[in-house]
Symmetry: C2
Subunit: 463 residues, 2 copies
């Protein structure tokens, strides 16, 4: 029984352990079983680029970060000719099952591929594994996507270091943008770990229909209140997806993208110091006004944009006698720093379990299933392995004009325990300095069970 | 015998351990001795802001990062009236010795203060401790400033994570700027730890009298050579002080600063989209031309500036048929992430030793000495404690028009072992992918001696 494996999409810590677990699982079933890795993502299957993963190779990558063992890529497996092209090489290598390690879209496609191979009696099973640091692939059956634990711990380490600096120097407001696509899970978890003075949650901005000015005013108010207490410093966390939740900005970005797509060649010929005038000349009056209101040098950098607008608001309040502090800022963006960190103990165990478990699902003849390990907020010997039909997680959504079954992206739930706990602490963290400095991830041997999961996961499963 | 302590200047990991060591030292001499901390830097001495540091407080801060135990500040102790004002509170608290924890300037000032108190028979000794993450306070007597070890390990952790991401995704060039003021020690050490494809060393740029175009061409050539091998990705390290070593840019920045200082009020009234025209109208023709040649949105962000100029150069080479790769970039700046990290085992031990040793220098009646711990590249039981007269490290330099004795800032020595080792590997690291992923700092108990010092320190003392 030969097996193929594909890494799909953005890196997440622990991918190598999924592959190691899968390797150990199929070798335990039969030492003659072979594991093939398709190179640089799903494209490797279509283009027949692959390598056999032997014990020597696997051993070099156990418990390491990154996806460099076989590389990853963003080619989407969606079309029949891709499926057929892939089947050629699967047949040639005598592969009976394909494991696709990816996020919501990749698992959606894994499901469609499984259905197709089943329908044509191709004799190839397809199993998915839930991967993404963004934390937006989870539901009643999948507790967490792998990588979220490590990435949020790495970000919290550096956020904590910055907080300690902030609280020592007492002179800067640090604006920290965090990766996480649309969802604010990463930002929320880092807030729970480190207790910043300001945390923006995109899902809340949308639910409350807040404008950019609402957000700027909220931050400025926290800054002013702290200044009143003599604290002209603080830390603000901003999710990278925030912008998508602000209607006016969303419209501007959309028009900018369309305009640039249509005029790229002409735009490239415009001199650097004339580019802004060019852009303004092409935008609608409404969006041109918004564009003009944005700080010039930072229009693509969210955390700087917010900081500059807060600065303007505070300058106005100063004139009105409502504020009398100092506001100096530093900016940071963390994303690539966490996607390829060595996996935390939790992610290392979870990923190995997901991979080993995938081999069991294959052995029991399943296809179109996602490998599932539950109870992971408890000690490892209470973890429960299983498999979930991917179709169970599907919803109908409009994609490119057509209704399609897709795995729903999990956004932060405003009635969920992590968000509610955050809200219960938000004002205290804003007005006081309650920073927590988590420090770097520490590694323990396999017999230790002292690593704790994310606070998000703990709160979600608190009784 | 009561003692006062001051944290001066930028944060560095281990400051709390210097204070803990000092506390334990003076309490061992006599449990009735008291330690007072002056608040928010040297200003606390002048303004009589202080707190007694008791065992309870000290115990809370042992082995933690940050300077938040008493805060730090950048007030310079330089004038007679400051010295006299400080003496009032020192007398009032019956303080016999003052320990100043700081960088080159702070230790220069500590020396002057010691001389002054000696000259007027004030009965107050002054002892310095060598602190700075920049690594630019070292000489034949001082092996290393504390904080450099931890900061470079934290930066190398995140650089390593980015490298693993780079080597997994294989699609970006990451430009990473690193803190370190003028000197390139931090960048060199991080390069030695992680093996990036491009590392710029400011001291080399100056020695070779390189222009911005020389630097851009060097980077573009490495990018093109890697592209020829099919590798359209890589990592480049840029020291923040680089810009000071490029003559043309230095002149432009100087004129910009002067112009803005003279016209700030008017500049503030100029509309955002007219600010660039305004700046151009005020600059000399030579500097206006350089300013125009810089990418518009990034003129204050060195790592982005270099990346955009490399992009332009490559676009030109593409037209000429000399280059046929892809060049997409990501940008990072690391500084605040490392200054307040929990100290590495090495820094924790070194700092505690510096502080404890300071109490011994005080007990033996020294003043104007820097606490010194040598042989730190060997196991801890071979470390050698002592004291160095700060005057021994002094050179005459022109400051504000006058010749003054100052501790010379240590730049990267181009005939030193760390730089020479780097040069011997540079081309290999450029053309191959030899990335090292050091991972997060791990902590061990006090009986362990397995932590290694920086590679810089090891190479400097290699026999």
């Amino acid at each position: 029984m030969n097996v193929g494996v594909i890494l799909s999409g953005g890196q997440a810590p622990g991918g190598h352990n999924v592959i190691s677990g899968l390797f150990d699982g199929i070798k335990k079933l039969n030492p003659n079983n072979k594991l093939y890795g398709f190179l640089l993502g799903p494209g490797g299957l279509v283009d027949h680029k692959y390598m056999e993963l032997t014990a020597d190779i696997i051993d070099e990558y156990r418990n390491t970060g990154g996806f460099d063992i076989i590389g990853s890529g963003r080619t989407k497996l969606e079309k029949k000719d891709q499926f057929d092209k892939g089947l050629e090489i699967l047949k040639q290598l005598d592969i009976k099952a394909l494991v696709i390690i990816g996020g919501d879209d990749s698992n959606t496609n894994a499901c469609v591929l499984a259905e197709y191979y089943k329908a044509i009696n191709a004799g190839v099973q397809v199993i998915g594994c839930p991967k993404t640091i963004d934390g937006d692939l989870k539901n009643s059956e999948i507790e967490a996507s792998f990588g979220f634990d490590t990435a949020t711990k790495v970000y919290s380490e550096v956020i904590g270091n910055i907080m300690r600096d902030c609280n020592s120097a007492k002179k800067y407001w640090h604006f920290i943008k965090l990766m996480g696509r649309s969802a604010s899970h990463v930002t929320l978890e880092c807030a729970l770990q480190t207790h910043p003075n300001v945390t923006l949650i995109g899902e809340e901005v949308e639910a409350k229909n807040q404008t950019l000015d609402d957000i700027v005013t909220y931050i400025a108010q926290v800054v002013a209140d702290r200044a009143n207490q003599g604290m002209n410093y603080g830390v603000a966390l901003v999710p990278e997806g925030l912008i998508e939740f602000i209607p006016a900005i969303k419209k501007l970005i959309s028009e900018l993208n369309d305009m640039l797509a249509a005029n790229q060649a002409e735009f490239d010929t415009v001199a650097d110091d004339k580019k802004i005038d060019y852009v303004l000349s092409k935008l609608s009056a409404e969006n041109a006004a918004i564009f003009k209101s944005l700080p010039i040098a930072v229009s693509r950098q969210l955390e700087q944009l917010l900081a500059e607008m807060v600065g303007k608001k505070l300058a106005q309040w100063k004139k009105e006698g409502k504020y009398n502090g100092k506001f100096a800022t530093q900016h940071h963006f963390f994303g690539y720093e966490g996607r390829c960190a060595a996996p935390s103990n939790w992610d290392a165990d979870y990923c190995y379990s997901l991979g080993f478990n995938a081999s069991m699902l294959i052995a029991s003849g399943k296809t179109g299933y996602m490998s599932s390990v539950k109870n992971t907020f408890k000690p490892v010997d209470e973890w429960v392995a299983g498999g979930i039909p991917i179709t169970m997680m599907m919803n109908m959504e409009k994609r490119a004009g057509e209704m399609k079954p897709v795995i729903k992206k999990a956004l932060v739930e405003l009635d969920g325990a992590p968000y509610k706990f955050f809200v219960s602490k938000r004002d205290e963290w804003a007005s006081k300095t309650s920073f927590v400095y988590p420090g770097p991830i520490q590694y323990f041997g396999p017999t230790e069970v002292c690593d704790r999961p994310t606070i998000t996961l703990s709160l979600e499963h608190q009784k």
